[in-house]
């Protein structure tokens, strides 16, 4: 195993605080959205402290802007490091994207061009962040709706080169691979085949929606994981092994039991995948 996390987790959402504390559900770990806890006090941090006593945690950020052209936000990093000291996460991750420019935050996961210039830029910033935090970070592949005409690398080549140059790990979002394969017309298996086998240290599964105007798939996290993504998840496990896996839901959040049922499906797929490997 490549990280301290094992098994199957969920994204922690306030709607499930009480159920997680009261019912001791079958969850191996929980992932928090770091920014939700970069607050001064009150219920969010108190609940987090209580949950952290019972469950291993991963921290997942949305505002690092690792690909941004503005200088790294040192205050944000300082607060992130303080939160990490508080909850002692097994993993810290963010997204391979940029979120701010010229001091303005877009609060969206904006796509990077896949060029050598961007690669060198991001790799250097990853090394800076890892120095500040004193640990490796994971970066997640994001869904995108447009691509730069002048890309010189495929998305998977960019990810593989970034791992090699910066020493970061990958948080593989299988839904995002599927969404991008449909939006940009590539083979999702080629994407998976292009990633370094030891680089993938965490997996996200989520649902998406379809833009009515264009048919583009949108990474909305507001629906159950679709069958095509489940199938791709099995393919990912076959390539990367028993990577800790979780379900993300950020909108239309159902009762915890529904997400636990989805998580059971992930467990079943993993069990079947590894039974095949052992039998072979």
């Amino acid at each position: 195993m490549k990280t301290g996390l094992r098994g199957f987790g969920l994204g922690l959402r306030p709607a499930h605080y009480q159920a997680i504390l009261d019912d001791a559900p079958a969850i191996d770990w929980l992932e928090i959205v770091s920014e939700n806890y970069l607050v001064n006090g009150g219920r969010p941090l108190q609940m987090l402290d209580r949950i952290a006593e019972r469950h291993p945690l991963a921290m997942h950020g949305v505002s690092l802007s690792i690909g941004g052209s503005d200088p790294l936000d040192r205050d944000y990093l300082r607060r992130l490091a303080a939160l990490a000291r508080r909850v002692r996460p097994q993993l810290i991750s963010d997204h391979l994207c940029w979120t701010a420019i010229d001091g303005v935050q877009l609060h969206d996961l904006m796509p990077l061009p896949h060029t050598e210039e961007a690669l060198r830029h991001v790799a250097a910033r990853v090394r800076q962040v890892q120095d500040v935090l004193g640990r490796q970070i994971l970066l997640e592949n994001v869904s995108s709706y447009l691509r730069f005409d002048g890309d010189t690398l495929s998305e998977w080549q960019f990810l593989a080169a970034l791992v090699a140059e910066s020493g970061c790990g990958l948080l593989l979002d299988v839904n995002n691979v599927y969404v991008n394969s449909r939006n940009h017309g590539f083979d999702a298996l080629t994407f998976l085949d292009g990633l370094p086998r030891d680089g993938v240290q965490q997996i996200h599964l989520a649902g998406h929606s379809r833009d009515a105007g264009s048919g583009l798939l949108i990474d909305t996290h507001d629906a159950p994981v679709c069958d095509a993504v489940w199938q791709l998840y099995g393919e990912a496990l076959a390539r990367f092994g028993a990577v800790p896996t979780m379900i993300e839901r950020d909108d239309h959040i159902p009762p915890l039991a529904e997400l636990l049922a989805e998580l059971d499906r992930a467990r079943s797929i993993a069990a079947a995948c590894f039974a095949e490997v052992i039998a072979a």
């Binding site: 920014e35 939700n36 970069l38 607050v39 001064n40 006090g41 009150g42 219920r43 969010p44 941090l45 108190q46 505002s63 802007s65 690909g67 941004g68 052209s69 936000d73 944000y76 940029w98 979120t99 701010a100 420019i101 010229d102 001091g103 303005v104 935050q105 877009l106 609060h107 969206d108 904006m110 796509p111 990077l112 061009p113 060029t115 210039e117 961007a118 830029h121 709706y145 447009l146 691509r147 730069f148 005409d149 002048g150 449909r182 939006n183 017309g185 833009d211 105007g213 264009s214 048919g215 583009l216 949108i218």
Partner: protein, 262 residues
């Protein structure tokens, strides 16, 4: 094909598209295909930018959103988005200037006060934690130490000055009832919002209590608080009133610590 943009140029082109809905510079470097045109692909980011921030502002101001209706609230939010782009990594801070901005654009007092109240609720909800003082702490205090006693309000507490019935509107919405029409009471009244446990509470303040809390907020002593009370009530009632206020504040978990000033 045009000259390849630098990373910075790409990001500025995408920002302009997202924030202003102007994909002009971006479209030089993006191609459409059978799935979607370049314009539609660019528009996804512009739509998402607005929708996300309107949603955030609505989540922070649910009663104002409900009272205006979603469409009118979205129009207001759109103007705010243009006037105050987000500059902090946490989207939690995006609405910080909303109430002030409403005042600058001469929005109705009803909107300004409701936005002020709802933002304060959020600040109280996740404001800084602090150790609380309890009655037993005061019981051990020597009588001659009381005048120099310095009390600090809980850092998450807020005192607002409102003319209307925003508090009643928020309470009604919380009970699932219709939101009453705005009523301008004509005179400003102080409201205290504070956190007890995880819950946000509020109540109107009597004039002398508001003045006493202002003394504490300014770092004043218990003696100065009593002097202030003496300006509005007979001197023989000051000690009892001050003790009563202090007892209530302690029960409300409003006082975090006290020290003797040298």
């Amino acid at each position: 094909m045009s000259t390849a943009p630098t990373l910075l140029q790409w990001q500025r082109a995408l920002r302009t598209c997202a924030m202003r809905g102007d994909p002009g510079a971006l479209l030089k470097h993006v191609r459409g295909d059978a799935t979607a045109t370049a314009e539609r692909r660019a528009a996804i980011y512009a739509d998402a930018y607005r929708l996300r921030l309107i949603e955030v502002l609505g989540n922070d101001h649910p009663v104002l959103q409900a009272s205006l209706g979603r469409e009118a609230f979205a129009a207001l939010a759109n103007d705010y988005i243009d006037a105050h782009p987000s500059t902090t990594p946490s989207v939690r801070d995006f609405g910080r200037h909303f109430a002030t901005w409403l005042r600058t654009v001469h929005a109705p007092l009803a909107q300004i006060e409701l936005a002020t109240f709802e933002w304060a609720q959020g600040e109280v909800f996740d404001g800084r934690d602090a150790d609380l003082a309890v009655l037993a702490d005061l019981a051990s205090l020597a009588p001659d130490a009381w005048p120099a006693l310095s009390l600090a309000l809980h850092p998450a507490a807020r005192v607002l000055c409102l003319r209307g019935n925003a508090a009643a509107q928020v309470a009604a919405h919380g009970r699932g009832e219709a939101i009453a029409a705005f009523v301008d009471g004509g005179e400003e009244r102080h409201w205290l919002l504070w956190r007890r446990g995880f819950d946000v509470h509020w109540r109107a303040l009597a004039v002398d209590e508001a003045a006493a809390l202002a003394v504490l907020s300014a770092g004043g002593t218990f003696g100065e608080l009593c002097t202030g009370l003496a300006a509005s009530i007979p001197e023989h009632e000051v000690a009892r009133r001050a003790a009563g206020l202090l007892k209530r504040w302690l029960c409300d978990e409003l006082i975090v610590r006290f020290s003797i000033q040298s």
